[in-house]
Amino acid sequence: MDITLTINGKSYSQDVEPRLLLIHFVRDVAGLTGTHMGCETSLCGACTVELNGKAIKSCTMFAVQAKGADIVTVEGLASDGKLDPMQEAFWNEHGLQCGFCTPGMIMASKQILDRNPAPTEDEIRHGLEGNVCRCTGYQHIVNAVKAAAAGAGK
């Protein structure tokens, strides 16, 4: 089946099997390996990308369902060598250790601030329920989201 998706502003067309998962399209067809496959079972959030403005788990969507959609992956955040404020906040606040969960954490964290520019700590934790980190214990991730929110409010 022929589909065209826009990823990070660039258009990708490919004849795909309907059973191809969106994450495989992103990683193997578009070659964007920043989006990670963690659990493969819809639980860890490492594969989170933005689809038409909404954070979704790309391991739990067929690429054909995303036909015509506008997708943003972690590679699409920095522009002209300048990090996105959320990436900057993860860096400053040590919001990562091994970094495996980070692309998904950052995409989910951006969704939190898109919908609520000044979240409480509880709201941040509620917003990250779909993302698992085996290293940080989450506190520094929560701090990073707070810092990004404070920075955006300045």
Binding site: R19, E40, S42, K54, I56, F62, A108, G130
Partner: protein, 284 residues
């Protein structure tokens, strides 16, 4: 994990979708239950018809004194609907308690209800709301109430070839308070037990009570013994406690690695009491 091969259609109209379903295709909505099952090969449909392609099926609107929710309204659409927040806060509260942000962005009310997972959240609220479901096939349409709709685990009144097109819920007056309380399974967020309460007070007495329970048994049900025990009571802590104690009466409770049957029954009583207290405290 790769699903078995299948054919995929994004239909242009509801008629086209129903026509394909009548010849054996299976609907996919948010895919949040179906895709994990297909990846595990617990499901292997040969042909999927994507209901999300039908752009006008995700409405949330008020008509004829009731609220109408299109099948493909996502959990996020429901959670963030200003109309529902004002006129049916039980539904927004329940939607916000489902899974996680990514699941709520994709999963739909129609998919959740049609799937009828015994641990799903919506069925508790929809039982308490005495919701009606519009089921549509290629040739006919019918309306089924919540008590008849949920038949057993993963089993509903839907016939092959039918889709759940719309969920209808009532608009309550200001003397009604509601609440949904759940004990979530920490990994997925599914309800180990979830209780939705809807109570009305008149001159200091409970005039009407509805309790929907999910997670405890194979299907979400109405705790009618508790409901009867509440009617006419003045909602003292003792009244609530004795009504909540009846919530699992006559129910064959599920037992699994997350919770034993006894623990589930205990949780049902605790959460029924919490849901009732919170619902009563919300009466304007």
């Amino acid at each position: 994990m790769i699903a078995q091969k299948f054919e995929y259609t994004a239909p242009k109209s509801l008629d086209e979708a129903l026509h394909l379903l009548a010849s054996g295709a299976k609907p996919i909505a948010g895919g949040m239950s179906l895709i994990p099952m297909m990846k595990l090969r617990l499901a292997a449909p040969e042909h999927l018809v994507d209901l999300r392609a039908l752009k006008d099926l995700s409405y949330i609107r008020e008509a004829g004194g009731q609220l109408h929710i299109g099948a493909t309204a996502s959990h996020y659409d429901v959670e963030s609907s200003a109309l529902l927040r004002q006129k049916c806060p039980l539904l927004t509260e329940t939607a916000a308690a489902i899974g996680d942000v990514q699941v709520r962005n994709m999963g739909t009310i129609g998919g959740s209800v049609a799937h009828a997972d015994p641990a799903a959240d919506y069925p508790a609220a929809l039982q308490a709301l005495e919701a009606k479901f519009v089921l549509q096939g290629a040739k006919s349409e019918r309306v089924v109430g919540a008590t008849d709709f949920f038949v057993d685990a993963f089993t509903t009144a839907l016939e092959p070839g039918e889709i759940l097109r719309e969920v209808i819920v009532p608009i309550d007056d200001a003397r009604t308070g509601t609440s949904y309380q759940k004990m979530a399974q920490p990994a997925s967020g599914f309800a180990i037990v979830g209780v939705a309460a809807r109570v009305r007070q008149n001159a200091g007495k409970i005039s009407f009570a509805r309790l929907g329970i999910t997670g405890l048994s194979n299907r979400a049900y109405r705790a009618s013994a508790s409901e009867k025990a509440l009617e006419g009571k003045s909602s003292t802590p003792a009244d609530i406690q004795s009504a909540a104690a009846l919530v699992a009466q006559g129910i064959d409770a599920n037992s699994d690695l997350h919770a034993s049957a006894d623990y589930r029954r205990h949780l049902a009583v605790v959460h029924a009491s919490r849901a009732l207290k919170t619902a009563l405290s919300r009466i304007a």
